[in-house]
């Protein structure tokens, strides 16, 4: 039971719930600058959870992963996105979903689905983080929901990055991190991906004069 765990293990579970809350907050957020800030908080929370798991399990590689996560997900990528938003001049637009209440309800449904799918996996793990496997899967699917429900490029990219947060969290929760070479490779890929996304925003804006990706619809199978 929860009350028998030491305090820092309870803190791991509480932080995991807060990470899930930031995913919901991202789904509900309409403006792009607060969205980037919530994403930065999510990265920070995931990093702190990783550090606590490192302390708990004694795997010191995880401290390095936590530092990498802070540097990349909580500092560099939000800074990059912020700079892009400023240069594109879109910080005052509405970037919300069509029906936010429905999206939130679907999100809650996804969390329940993830709990169900993760049950057989959780039964096999003996670590304190086994309950957080479902949470990490939920963060991944909520990131995908954000990608689907948004029509503006920056919001989609934030959803994509939040999905990557969930994947990193899943690695920490299920297996206490992956081998260092893989973690470095994944971090490198995310970094390059973020930079390329930045390049893309300008290309999209130059070609259709807005960042509304719903308007990217010239290539279709319909007969003209």
């Amino acid at each position: 039971m929860l009350e028998q765990l030491p305090l820092y293990e309870q803190a791991i579970l509480t932080l995991a719930a807060m990470v899930m809350f930031t995913s919901f907050a991202l789904l509900a957020q309409n403006r792009v600058v607060p969205m980037i800030h919530i994403f930065a908080w999510q990265g920070l929370l995931v990093a702190v959870t990783t550090a606590l798991v490192a302390f708990d399990s004694g795997k010191h590689d995880l401290y390095l992963s936590a530092i990498m996560t802070i540097a990349l997900k909580a500092l560099f990528i939000p800074w990059l996105l912020h700079r892009l938003v400023k240069r594109l001049g879109i910080d005052r637009e509405e970037h919300g979903a069509e029906h936010p209440a429905t999206v939130l309800m679907i999100g809650a449904g996804l969390v329940i689905f993830c709990y169900y799918v993760a049950q057989p996996i959780e039964q096999l793990s003996a670590s304190v983080t086994r309950n957080t496997i479902a949470i990490s899967m939920a963060v991944v699917l909520l990131g995908m929901l954000m990608l689907i429900s948004r029509g503006k490029a920056v919001a989609q990219v934030v959803g994509f990055m939040s999905l990557e947060n969930g994947l990193f969290f899943a690695a920490v929760a299920a297996t206490h991190g992956m081998p260092m070479v893989v973690e470095l490779g994944v971090a490198f890929d995310v970094l390059v991906g973020a930079v390329i996304f930045g390049v893309f925003f300008f290309q999209i804006r130059d070609s259709i004069d807005s960042l509304d990706v719903d308007q990217l619809n010239r290539l279709s199978e319909q007969d003209e």
Binding site: L167, P179, V186
Partner: protein, 494 residues
């Protein structure tokens, strides 16, 4: 090992060098030379494996066995011939004003970078590094799709990035679950992601976790293979990017993604078979399902196409569906056919795209309506396109016929009722291809259409190879196919 390092490092260094000097006059020539050097290194590697057997040891970071050795050489070959085609082609595009020298630098650097990630994905033993390489391949090519900066190409590139990015992210989740299952069985954490170690211990992996992991990996890597319904990026990306890139995407990336999928399937089959669950053939059945749906849908979509590159990219989806079905069916006959199909499809499709590139230069458009009278204008291009399409549609004596025949025989043995959808699908695809092709090669030659400087010998080389593979497979290659079939299904054909 030197051969292995050379195969990997040549494209990497070439990419870095071209990133700095790529807008120089001789960049295209350097590109060709680099790919030729890579091809030589890969042939050397293949010879070493031929003489000494699998490379990489029990738990090394690299693992070359009969499954990937010919794929490595094939990748290097297609990369080389396509770069030979791309040199005058991109020069012509630059002359037409579609791109500037800065973008050429990006093009050349990304081309070599893409080849590096392909070779890394093929040679690595570490499933995590395989994932990193697949994601790296996406990143290397995404800026190439939007190279021409038209609204359509930006849209295609965005779609490619988002769909493949999400797909690959799901594959990473599957890899994490795989690692979770592996870490419980293999004590050394550093070895728990090595394929060779996992394959040796696949019987003790937890079946339920492996099944869930396989589903995520199938959806994830299946996105890059182009399985329906995750295929929507493929026609756009292949048609909007420059033609050499379409050739390598169709010929190489789809193959490597399927290779990754089959590697994971070997592990899943071992885990499910030993685990005694109620669905030991889950992996195969899922692959069969996705394969046949892709095959059917793509065949039907072929008829509606108006753009020549979209037409052939749907043909790629159709063939990848067929290959996925073959590997899902299992058994030595179908697996041998699938392996052969991977090889010949790659060669044929890249040859077709080379011919298509020249055809679109002649007609100055990519629309099927606008391309007419190719044989009259430039017989080499016209005949190349015609014979290439004949080959890909499955006519004997080309290699595609042989592999499809093997697959149909295997289907008739195990799932006879599936033969009918396969045959009708093949017929539908054949009809679709030729219906569009006939006016293009035989129609009335329009006014003022002249021949362009074209380099058709890559096409000739590839088609001759496919013909050779169709008539008589060389002994060492058949041996490798056989050993790979043993690796994948447990029993060999020969």
């Amino acid at each position: 090992m030197t051969a292995l390092y050379l195969t990997l490092l040549i494209p990497l260094f070439a990419s870095i060098l071209l990133g700095v000097f790529g807008n120089h006059r001789g960049a295209a020539t350097f590109n060709v030379l680099a790919t030729l050097a890579g091809f030589v290194a890969s042939v050397w590697l293949a010879l070493i494996v031929l003489k000494h057997g699998p490379l990489g040891g029990e738990a090394g970071q690299f693992h070359i066995d009969s499954f990937n050795v010919y794929l490595i050489a094939l990748t290097a070959l297609v990369g080389a011939t396509t770069s030979f085609f791309s040199a005058p082609y991109m020069a012509q595009e630059e002359a037409n004003g579609r791109l500037g020298p800065g973008r050429l630098r990006l093009y050349h650097a990304s081309y070599q970078g893409f080849l590096f990630t392909m070779q890394l994905a093929l040679t690595t033993n570490n499933l995590g590094v395989l994932w990193v390489a697949m994601e790296g391949a996406t990143l290397a090519t995404v800026l190439l799709v939007s190279l021409y900066r038209t609204p359509e190409s930006v849209e295609a590139a965005w779609k490619y990035f988002i769909i493949c990015g999400v797909g690959i992210a799901l594959a990473l989740f599957g890899t994490v679950l795989l690692y979770f299952a592996a870490a419980r069985v293999i004590p050394d954490a550093e070895h728990a992601l090595l394929w060779s170690v996992l394959a040796a211990n696949s019987g003790s992996l937890e079946p339920v976790v492996m099944a869930i992991a396989f589903v995520f990996l199938l959806v994830g890597y299946g996105t890059k293979v182009g399985l329906v319904p995750m295929h929507t990026w493929l026609p756009d990306a292949h048609s909007e990017g420059p033609t050499p890139m379409s050739a390598v995407l169709s010929g190489l990336l789809l193959n490597v993604a399927l290779y990754a999928l089959v590697r994971v399937k070997i592990l899943t089959d071992g885990a499910l078979a030993a685990g005694g669950t109620h669905s030991p053939h889950l992996a195969g059945n899922l692959m069969m399902g996705f394969g046949i749906v892709s095959f059917t849908v793509a065949g039907l979509f072929l008829h509606r196409q108006r753009d020549i590159k979209r037409l052939f990219s749907y043909s790629s989806i159709e063939h990848m569906g067929l290959m996925t079905f073959a590997f899902g069916l299992g058994g030595p006959l179908a697996t041998f056919g699938g392996l052969l199909h991977m090889t010949v499809h790659s060669l044929t499709k890249s040859a077709i795209f080379v011919a298509v590139g020249h055809a679109s230069h002649i007609a100055r458009t990519q629309a099927i309506e606008g391309i007419r009278g190719l044989i009259q204008t430039q017989p080499a291009v016209g005949w190349g396109l015609l014979i290439g399409t004949v080959a890909i549609a499955g006519f004997p004596p080309f290699g595609v016929f042989t592999s499809e025949f093997l697959l149909l025989s295997a289907t008739m043995k195990t799932h006879p009722w599936l033969t009918l959808p396969l045959l009708s699908g093949l017929g539908v695809a054949f009809a679709g291809l030729f219906r569009h092709l006939h006016p293009m090669v035989y129609g009335e030659r329009p006014e003022g259409q002249v021949a362009v400087p074209a380099n058709m010998w890559p096409v000739v080389l590839h088609l001759v190879l496919v013909l050779w593979l169709g008539i008589s497979i060389p002994a060492f290659l058949a041996d490798w196919f056989n050993q790979a079939a043993i690796l994948i299904t447990g029993e060999g054909l020969l």
